[in-house]
Amino acid sequence: DTAVSQTPKYLVTQMGNDKSIKCEQNLGHDTMYWYKQDSKKFLKIMFSYNNKELIINETVPNRFSPKSPDKAHLNLHINSLELGDSAVYFCASSQDYTGELFFGEGSRLTVL
């Protein structure tokens, strides 16, 4: 049973399109995150939700909008995709803000 699952694993799309990535965790954790990993492997936190409430909202273009329908799900919607959005997006969860993070396998987004 996958602890943190995200779909789709791969997205290839044209500039200007809108796309969504879904994430679900079955660990019963209270906190979920979206991270962006660029081609140099640098991990950048984008958003953090605790019990469906937005806690961390780093400097991310407002084309990125997270949505948490319940504490087990955190989705990421991206509008008007740009070339620079190409990256691997990771969903993660933890029991508290600074405990062990459990990551999904990532969603590789390629914008053409």
């Binding site: 640098f42 991990l43 806690i55 803000y97 600074t98 062990e100 990551f103």
Partner: protein, 113 residues
């Protein structure tokens, strides 16, 4: 002051050697220092973590050394194997507070057979 500086960026070691990855921080309030391991195509996974009340922690072949006065910590991998080839990230945070992890830039480690 929120940065965690990780070095080297990449490292190639022969099988059986002891790769060492170093991290340095400025914020003396940090009190939790984890290392994450990431294999290609996978998400990072917690490998080992240390609190500043100890100077060393071992889990199997992996050891964290912690130097509080120098504000540095490092990961050593004993008897390294090709299967240890991965990207390693150090991080730091303040436990028991609403304080996110601050990540190092990562080290790509290759263990040659």
């Amino acid at each position: 002051q929120q940065q965690v500086k990780q070095s080297p960026q990449s490292l190639i070691v022969q099988k059986g050697g002891i790769p060492i990855i170093n991290c340095a921080y400025e914020n003396t309030a940090f009190d939790y220092f984890p290392w994450y391991q990431q294999f290609p195509g996978k998400g990072p996974a917690l490998l080992i973590a240390i609190r500043p009340d100890v100077s060393e922690k071992k889990e199997g072949r992996f050891t964290i050394s912690f130097n509080k006065s120098a504000k540095q910590f490092s990961l050593h991998i004993m008897d390294s194997q090709p299967g240890d080839s991965a990207t390693y990230f150090c991080a730091a945070s303040i436990m028991d507070s609403n304080y996110q992890l601050i990540w190092g830039a990562g080290t790509k480690l290759i263990i040659k057979p």
